[in-house]
Symmetry: C2
Subunit: 172 residues, 2 copies
């Protein structure tokens, strides 16, 4: 597994591996546009963003050099989708046995970080914005400290919720 | 622009380019896990997924070989997030002037396909599922035919909507 760092969990009964490594496909390349700074490391990371919100500890994005003009028009209180790269995940696990399921489940039926392209996404809210310093505060996130950021987009209910869904929002 | 195909739109007043090409960063590599088949090409593509839904024409995903086990546990009617690669976009446009805005807006404040990492995402609903053939029907999407797929995940309101947002309509 070319891009797994740290401990690789053992394969459990019912789990299946791809017989190739998606990391070697090289169909397209990503640029890391920043770094997500969080209080979390393996071992003390909240299980999901709901738990991270309950923990009441904010997080921060440090944008990489050159990207600050991309923030023009964003504002504090705005909800955004973050896309980030789970660089401690494995990419060849196509069927998984998380502790909470009874039968093997496909990777595309799970939000597990282990997936052919370990791109995670979460809807967060901007709490502070300093374009000159390339710093963006966010309300909460459940990823490890130093996770690479690959994109940030305005959260739009018309695109980011499925047809037939209506939301009541208390957004700024 | 190493990975732009077809027409590259001209730069408009107020737009800014990065002085480097994110396509050359190579911080991580993506594997294309399938292809999105749609009725749309440049020129007749709906402006957004809302318009695509109104058009009433479904779409389909053809999974690449080897990934079918990843579908285990998904079901018809389930909402999923698709992540896909806007391979006709440019990656160095950091401040943009879409026709509907009055002042230049940062790329991270827009859903434009032109962005350092052109990963698009939409919440769609599964309408048919044939794991043996690696085929997944979806209700609607507004991307060009043959757009490469990079991920599919269950849509989860707890992760995919910002804090303070509540659902009022139940899903199938």
């Amino acid at each position: 597994m070319s891009d797994v760092h740290g401990d690789i969990p053992p394969i459990r009964e019912g789990e299946k591996l791809l017989d190739f490594d998606p990391a070697e496909s090289g169909d397209a390349t990503l640029a890391f546009i920043g770094t997500i700074r969080t209080p979390w490391r393996r071992g003390d990371c909240p299980k999901n963003i709901g738990k991270a919100r309950e923990a009441g500890q904010g997080a921060r994005i440090d944008l990489a050099k050159g990207y600050a003009d991309g923030l023009t028009g964003l504002r504090v209180g705005q909800p955004v989708m973050l896309l980030y790269w789970m660089n401690q995940a494995r990419r060849d696990l196509i069927q998984q046995m998380p502790r909470h399921v009874q039968a093997p489940r496909g990777t595309f039926a799970l939000r597990s970080p282990n997936r052919p392209n370990p791109v995670a996404m979460s809807a967060v809210t901007i709490t502070s914005l300093d374009p000159a310093a390339g710093m963006i505060g966010i309300d909460a996130i459940d990823c490890f400290d130093m996770t690479p950021l690959i994109d940030m987009k305005p959260w739009l209910p018309s695109v980011d919720t499925p047809a037939g869904t209506e939301l009541v929002t208390a957004l700024a």
